[in-house]
Symmetry: C2
Subunit: 182 residues, 2 copies
């Protein structure tokens, strides 16, 4: 069975995933009256489980409404001790180094993983653990905030595998990480 770690995330044109004060409202800057999902549902069908950082988990919890993920979610945290009762059959806590986390999740039979959250994505990229980046660019310059990408030890070559435009305004590019350092 193929193992795969996929990032699927939206950023501003200047590379932020949240504004200076954590704002996410700009994600909806382009009207989407028909609620097209831009690949989210296809991703959910493709993966076995989701791995996200604590901040992303808490952000999703604060959205209210129905829990959006139809697959098991692993939340990375050293500080969280409990999952809210309503999510106990959907969410588990884990921690460790990125490779250890992946190994633990693989050992449970979940091989295709959606990796989410800025800190998590950055730490997985730094250890060369991401196979595919699916980046959706919202046409806005935020001028500051939390960056999607962080430092790397070495540059990493990518291979463009798809480029789409949604709603005539939102560009989504999918890249395979070559895992060959330059």
């Amino acid at each position: 069975m193929e193992k795969k770690n996929i990032v699927f995330i939206a950023q501003s044109l200047d590379g932020y995933i949240a504004g200076k004060n954590g704002e996410l409202d700009w994600l909806h800057a382009i009207p989407n009256p028909d609620h097209i999902d831009m690949g989210f549902n296809a991703l959910m069908n493709e993966i076995d489980a989701i791995v996200m950082g604590r901040t992303t988990f808490e952000t999703v919890c604060n959205f209210g409404g129905d829990w959006p993920y139809p697959k098991p979610v692993f939340v990375l945290s050293n500080s969280l001790k409990n999952i809210p009762d309503r999510l106990k059959d959907k969410v588990s806590l884990t921690n460790g180094r990125p490779q250890e986390i992946i190994n633990k999740i693989h050992s449970k039979g979940y091989l295709k993983l959606y990796i989410d959250g800025g800190t998590t994505i950055q730490s997985f990229l730094k250890e060369n653990l991401i196979d595919e980046l699916r980046i959706t660019s919202i046409p806005i310059l935020l001028g500051g905030g939390f960056s999607l990408f962080g430092d790397l030890i070495e540059p990493m070559k990518l291979e463009l595998i798809a480029s789409k435009v949604f709603l005539n305004q939102i560009v989504q590019n999918c890249y395979r990480c070559k895992k060959i350092y330059l």
Copy 2:
């Protein structure tokens, strides 16, 4: 006559226009055997003059070979005192605040301007003086370097006007700056 300030620049997927040590070799990471120009020649035909910072000017000078710009170049610098003799009919020095610089260049009859260089682009964007961003994304993560975009006082909405893929790997997106703060 229409006035227009256009940015045309290549970045890494993580938003850098030069590597940690100024490296630019990654700009050629994708083989381009037929030397397709990805819009450079069309831009040269469209503009009246080029405005660039000192670092970009010195970088272009160090490339050696023929001078690449068929239009007058204005170099922004407070420190440079002289232009090399071979470029005296092609390049002039100027300085001042972004709006003053634009006014000076407009008064000479040059209305459509190509704005180049990281510091220059950032200072012009900060003062809302850019009309169009043409951003070419090379499929590589540099993991550090000189960022294309900097801080802004307020977020700036953009409008996607074109999205193209060159060489099956390089995505070029053109955005109109709406000049309406959110």
